[in-house]
């Protein structure tokens, strides 16, 4: 096979036995790789209703057909898939860097981790040799420290490592899996699933050649995309980076502020991407095979958080900043560094801290319950302290470490209404009250609240639709974006490069064909994107999620935007949500309960799954 390694590694952590199975070629074509292949492999290796932390819940690691090549942004991604301890439905998260490319060179398209190791281990994949090595001396280390320790121990400084921090060890439901020091498979709590298996890290060394079916044509195409990546489609990421969103969102009054109490932030100028780049960004670096580079490395040069160094993106900045009312970039940078140190998703961490602050201001949590922290909105030190406590699962951090929804269940007193989560996953930096296409996308996202499953906010923010009204037609918009995003996450290419695929499906089909040698048409690819969405839906239905879970946070539906400006008074009513859901289900060919019809599954060539899901 070209592009694909043609092999899936199965690791039984309980017995310590491993075996390799050939990659099912039909799966390759139908699910491409990444999250698509990962979800199919998860389904094949799981049963309904397992607890996410039970040994039988498989953790899947998958790269894509493009991984290991020099396709710009495409060579380096990997995806984790498992049952999420936040949503109890399908969880998935991707990261870039250089881990996925190494896994491909080791000769694997995917790794299926099952069972639970007796004591802490790390999985050492050295080409064909796979071992479980003792990791008890690495417990308590950060992902970055773990990476260094493994390289030192194995004596090779080019080994790539994906690992969990203390939060994952302690089963924090917002724990992530971090590779290359700063790249996180962040969302849906998969770091905790890894922790539940007693796996501290996965270390990989791959030495094989990666070849593609049509090398000369492929290289021509690479050259063309190198040129495209120097153009306007990627300019934002190469210059200010995603923090550019701060002022854009603020001007539209669509930046959730102080746990959704406001939609604009008076301190936005202070935490703008412009300010960040002027005062904090020390270097912009790139992942393996990237031709655009986006990773803005920030350094704090003075004050209480001097010498903090970390990467920064809009979502992190927003969650730890405006969402907590914090207007200090040095503290936000420190907060980000801590989330990476302990291995927690920065979005979930920030949203949960904002939730705790809201509880404090409303008298639901007292200063004593907060371990003496004066958790007022805007208290930067309090934000940093709370992030640290969540990371360590210490004191109030133990209550908050499983995210806003679980915290609210423990705290009670009406705090459920303050938890901005969808399917148990914390929401992201788009005020859904005034971005109604995005609201639909977030509500139906199979991994819970998320902008990266559809990018539907673009229609609202760019003014392509009236963002304040819910109307028919949005379902189709969301559907098409979802299908494209599914492909992006299955190939895997970087979402920041999505604008360089000028013709989208035909461009992606050409890439797939040149790499794999399988003749792929845009139509077949479109169907694959749709198939991936449907398998995710089937998994969620099997696990007990349904239409009632395709919903929005309480505040989005009950507390209109109070701020003067273009979004004042906006919220999403139940009628509007129902209209949007009906429209979306119809566009998807699902019934009114959001269940894919047998005809639809037949059309997608997965009618065999209807039975699997009914069992």
């Amino acid at each position: 096979m070209f592009g694909y390694a043609g092999r899936v590694l199965h690791v039984d952590l309980t017995s310590g036995k491993t075996h390799i199975e050939p990659l099912n070629e039909d799966y390759a074509r139908k699910y491409i790789g990444g999250i698509g292949l990962g979800m199919r492999l998860w389904l094949d290796n799981s049963r309904a209703g397992m607890d996410p932390f039970s040994p039988e819940n498989p953790l899947i690691l998958a790269n894509g057909p493009i991984s290991g090549t020099m396709w710009p942004t495409g060579g380096n991604g990997h995806a984790f898939v498992s049952k999420s301890p936040q949503s109890y439905g399908i969880g998935e998260a991707k990261a870039h860097g250089s881990f996925g490319t190494e896994l491909k060179r080791a000769g694997y398209d995917a790794v299926v981790l099952k069972g639970k190791a007796e004591r802490p281990v790390y999985v050492w994949i050295d080409d064909d040799s796979v071992q479980l090595l003792d990791a008890s001396h690495m417990m308590g280390k950060s992902p970055s420290e773990t990476e260094d320790a493994i390289r030192e121990e194995l004596g090779d400084y080019y080994i790539r490592v994906a690992s969990i921090g203390v939060a994952g060890e302690k089963l924090s439901r917002m724990a992530c899996i971090i590779n290359d020091k700063t790249r996180a498979a962040g969302r849906t709590g998969l770091g905790a699933v890894m922790g539940s298996k007693n796996v501290k890290a996965i270390a990989v060394r791959g030495t094989r050649d990666i070849t593609v079916a049509k090398l000369d044509e492929f290289m021509e195409y690479v050259k063309e995309f190198h040129e495209r990546m120097k153009g306007p489609a990627t300019q934002k990421y190469r210059t200010l980076g995603t923090p550019e969103n701060v002022l854009v969102h603020n001007s539209l009054s669509c930046m959730p502020t102080r746990n959704y109490n406001n939609s604009r932030f008076e301190g936005a100028e202070k935490v703008s991407g412009e300010n960040l780049n002027e005062k904090f960004v020390a270097k912009i670096i790139g992942c393996s095979s990237c031709a655009m580079r986006c990773e803005h490395m920030c350094v704090v040069s003075e004050g209480p958080y001097k010498n903090t160094m970390t990467r920064m993106e809009y979502e992190t900045l927003w969650a730890l900043g405006p969402y907590c009312g914090v207007d200090r970039l040095d503290a936000i940078t420190k907060g980000m560094e801590l989330t990476n140190y302990y291995g927690i998703d920065t979005i979930s961490a920030g949203v949960t801290v904002g939730f705790a602050m809201d509880c404090y201001e409303r008298g639901i949590l007292t200063q004593k319950e907060l371990d003496g922290i004066d958790a007022k909105f805007g208290n930067a030190e309090a934000m940093v302290q709370l992030v640290e406590k969540i990371g360590k699962r210490e004191g109030i951090g133990d209550v908050l470490a499983d995210g806003a929804k679980c915290a609210a269940q423990k705290i009670g007193k009406g705090s459920e209404k303050l938890a901005a989560t969808i399917k148990g996953v914390e929401t992201t930096g788009y005020d859904l009250r005034c971005l109604k296409t995005a609201a639909l996308g977030f509500a139906v996202s199979f991994r819970g609240a998320d902008h990266n499953r559809h990018g539907a906010y673009a229609f609202d923010v760019k003014g392509k639709v009236n963002r304040l009204t819910a109307e028919k037609g949005r379902g189709k918009l969301v559907r098409d974006m979802e299908d494209t995003y599914n492909l992006i996450d299955s190939f895997i290419v970087c979402k920041f490069s999505r604008g360089t695929y000028y013709k989208e499906l035909p461009d992606m089909a050409k890439l797939y064909t040149l790499v794999t040698g399988f003749n792929m048409t845009p139509e077949e690819l479109k169907l694959a994107g749709e198939r991936i969405q449907n398998i995710a839906r089937l998994i969620n239905l099997r696990e007990g999620l349904s239409r009632k879970d395709d919903t929005l946070p309480y505040k989005v539906m009950h507390e209109p935007i109070p701020d003067e400006g273009p979004s004042k008074g906006a919220f999403v009513s139940q009628e509007e949500l129902d209209l949007l859901l009906d429209d979306y289900y119809e566009a998807r060919g699902w019934n009114r309960e959001g269940v894919p019809t047998p005809e639809k599954l037949k059309e997608l060539g997965i009618d065999d799954l209807l039975e699997t899901v009914k069992k």
């Binding site: 020099m70 710009p72 060179r105 094989r208 270097k283 990237c290």
Partner: protein, 171 residues
């Protein structure tokens, strides 16, 4: 007659290098028609997120790799300074690898003989330089590097004055 140093080699600018490995990929595909950084003649080093630099053969004067070879498998071209490996003589003992201060000569994982950057002589120009998306690589001489360093240092020393003259020279 005094001769200037004309030997051109590949130099990476640490301010521009982002550690993306495009040089490694294009090198291996050019030389081996496969993507494999282990077969690249140029290698990226990332010390931490802020410190990235690609490293390849510096075409040293009196190259220690050549001197270290007990089998006379390595020779340096008098014209270009490029090191040539005689594959029949090399037995992969690795003394040249130890001798090189830059880790620029390496043992090929399959051929089991050493290999080193030859400036892509068959292509006419080094492909890594051509492909680097950051324009961080250049083919240069030690004299030009020294000139640039001097100019940068003096510029820094007279920052104010440089700014003033640039301003006043505008129409």
């Amino acid at each position: 007659m005094v001769k200037i140093h004309e030997r051109k080699f590949i130099s990476a600018d640490p301010d521009k290098c982002v550690g993306c490995q495009v040089c490694e990929y294009i090198c291996s595909v050019t030389k081996e028609r496969a993507f494999n950084p282990l077969k690249s003649r140029i290698r990226v080093v990332r010390i931490n997120q802020l410190i990235n630099l690609s490293v390849t053969c510096r075409l040293c004067e009196n190259p220690p790799c050549v001197a270290a070879c007990p089998r006379d498998a390595l020779t340096q071209s008098e014209d270009t300074g490029v090191i040539t490996v005689d594959k029949d003589k090399c037995n992969g003992c690795g003394w040249c690898i130890e001798a090189c201060d830059y880790g620029a000569i390496m043992l090929h994982p399959e051929n089991k003989v050493v290999y080193v950057c030859d400036l892509c002589k068959e292509k006419g120009e080094p492909q890594c330089v051509k492909w680097c998306p950051e324009e961080a690589l250049e083919v240069t001489t030690s004299d030009v590097l020294a000139q640039k360093a001097r100019i940068t240092a003096v510029r820094k020393l007279f920052q104010e004055a440089v700014r003033e003259t640039t301003k006043s020279s505008k129409p």
